[in-house]
């Protein structure tokens, strides 16, 4: 809505080139600035390790002794030993890996694997991403159905609204990472294994935003719109299908986007207590065991890219649906 208003007030040039210019250029500039700042930050972040390495190799650094340097300011050290700035950008286990290191690792574990025909080998992020994706999507589906169902109940029943809503909020204050192992164990003990336990954790995280958004959406019709149907003596189900559901669509898609992102987090969390053998969560953790910061960062970015793609797909669906419904102008 506000988008439309902005678009029309800015004069309404709509040519493709202009749109690309407006959308892509700012992002490119911002990303470039971030990468620049990132490189700069690498120097103080990694300088202590660089100096220690150099000292082990026999160089004389100022001041000598890792213990002495421990409590010194990193920026000060970087300035005093600017000769070692380069060494901060290519360490094996940096505190902050340089952008090109992350990019290289990402490429080596995705595109590079594809070129070698090993796209689905266990060292490939495509393989691990795929594992996480399947749990994410299944959990998202369960969570969305549950969230929508709960929202329908809440909107149509006073008791549900009063009794369940506070508990739905409370349920989200429980740290999922704490109860994930218990969920897995309990489900295991009743014979549920495989994809489903992970998906249920995803669902636990994604049902809430969907439910909250849908409650808002299903309640979004104003009094007049509801009164109109009253004068027709429309039934509850007619009111639902002809008024509440259509007017909740914008909310539905927005909350699905949040739900999808939450679902991905859930799938990753769910991977830890299942042995963390496959999936992006397992990669994150494995990177963490062995202090492979570059690997952590690569897995992190892979997860974020996956989330962006999933959310983008929902955004696409949203545009198509709302356009068909005449709700985007």
């Amino acid at each position: 809505m506000s988008d439309a208003a902005i678009a029309s007030s800015s004069g309404g040039f709509g040519t493709g080139a202009r749109a690309v210019w407006d959308v892509v250029l700012p992002v490119v500039v911002v990303v470039a600035v971030i990468i620049g700042a990132w490189y700069v930050a690498c120097v103080p972040m990694n300088i202590k390790e660089a100096l220690t390495q150099a000292e082990r190799a026999g160089a004389v650094v100022e001041p000598a002794g890792a213990k002495e340097r421990r409590d010194m300011s990193a920026v000060g050290l970087a300035l005093a030993n600017s000769a070692y700035a380069r060494d901060t950008l290519n360490q094996e286990r940096p505190r902050l890996p340089a952008p090109h290191q992350v990019g290289q690792e990402l490429w080596n574990t995705t595109g590079g694997m594809v070129l070698n025909g090993k796209a689905f080998s266990k060292r490939s992020l495509i393989y691990h991403g795929w594992v996480t994706l399947s749990a994410t999507v299944l959990g998202f589906a369960i969570g969305t159905v549950a969230g929508v169902g709960l929202a329908i109940g809440i909107v149509h029943s006073r008791v549900m609204n009063m009794a369940v809503m506070p508990w739905a909020i409370a349920s989200q204050t429980i740290p999922i990472l704490a109860i994930a192992p218990m969920i897995i164990v309990v489900l295991n003990s009743i014979g549920v294994t495989g994809l489903l336990p992970k998906a249920l954790i995803s669902a636990y995280l994604s049902f809430f935003p969907v439910a909250v958004g849908m409650v808002k959406g299903l309640r979004s019709p104003d009094n007049m719109q509801l009164d109109l149907l009253s004068t027709y003596s429309a039934s509850q189900s007619e009111t639902f299908w002809k008024l509440r559901l259509p007017s909740s669509m914008p909310y539905f898609f927005t909350s699905m986007k949040i739900g999808m992102a939450a679902s991905l987090v859930g799938a990753i969390v769910g991977e830890l207590p299942t042995g963390a053998v496959r999936g992006l969560g397992a990669r994150l953790l494995a990177g963490s065991y062995y202090g492979q910061t570059v690997q952590i960062w690569a897995a992190l970015f892979a997860a974020a890219i996956l989330a962006a793609v999933l959310v983008g797909v929902i955004g696409l669906l949203q545009r198509m649906t709302l356009k068909k419904m005449g709700m985007v102008h």
């Binding site: 213990k67 421990r70 266990k122 060292r123 192992p181 164990v185 494995a286 990177g287």
Partner: protein, 307 residues
Amino acid sequence: ADEVTLQLKWVTQAQFAGYYVAADKGFYEEEGLDVTIKPGGPDIAPAQVIAGGGADVVLDWMPSALASREKGLPLVNIAQPFKSSGMMLTCWKDTGIEKPEDLKGKTIGVWFFGNEYPFLSWMSSLGISTEGGDDGVTVLKQGFNVDPLLQRQADCISTMTYNEYWQVIDAGVTPEELITFKYEDMGVATLEDGMYVMEENLADPAFEDKMVRFVKASMKGWKYAEENPDEAAMIVLDNDETGAQTETHQKRMMGEIAKLTAGSNGALDEADYTRTVETLLGGGSDPVITIQPEGAWTHQITDKALN
């Protein structure tokens, strides 16, 4: 074939080579077993998994298993392939630490999640408080890696001889920069990586028979791994689904592990057990276990398996 599920204590690595070798070389199959090996991880308590019915047999450290037993979960040790403990404390030498008493006033990273018992017992036997201050040590719950040491957030961290210690070395630290305290050398070693099952199951002859075959095959696997460390490491690598393990690290780990399993035929040595219990009971004001455990181990399986 009879199905057996084994829950490991940690992720797939050479620490568990014997089981992977037994599976890979068909030793289990020969015994008519169909074994599923479930990797562990930071969020997995083997005792909880077996209580929930998620495994038939689990690998655990004895302090944790005995503590669970006191909590009312009747775990029984049926075999003990690890003779000695691989746990140690690794410190920076330049912090001035030379002997255990020097730990006072220092910051120390410790694994929790049931793995803190040996450390706590050791400190209480030294009479060092873990509440911080000049006369005590400041304890940190260390994460899964050796960063706290490398970043000098801690003066010492817990390491295993076969794993974390080498990660420190791989990070470019020379052994001369470090000083280590092995629990074995300190006389506070506790038993690690034993096989545990639920007590009530042992009464079931079918289960007993299954375990006999399992232990037999597993020990065969262990011995094979000790003799062919490089091959064993490669088998472990093949079974690592995360794709994060490296060949060098696993081969070296296998070498270290072989030192720990050497001297055990799989049967629990009662003397080791007694020493472990003594250490845990002697934990000063807050001992890990409070009463002498009864029936926490048995030779019922190994007697049949190893003869």
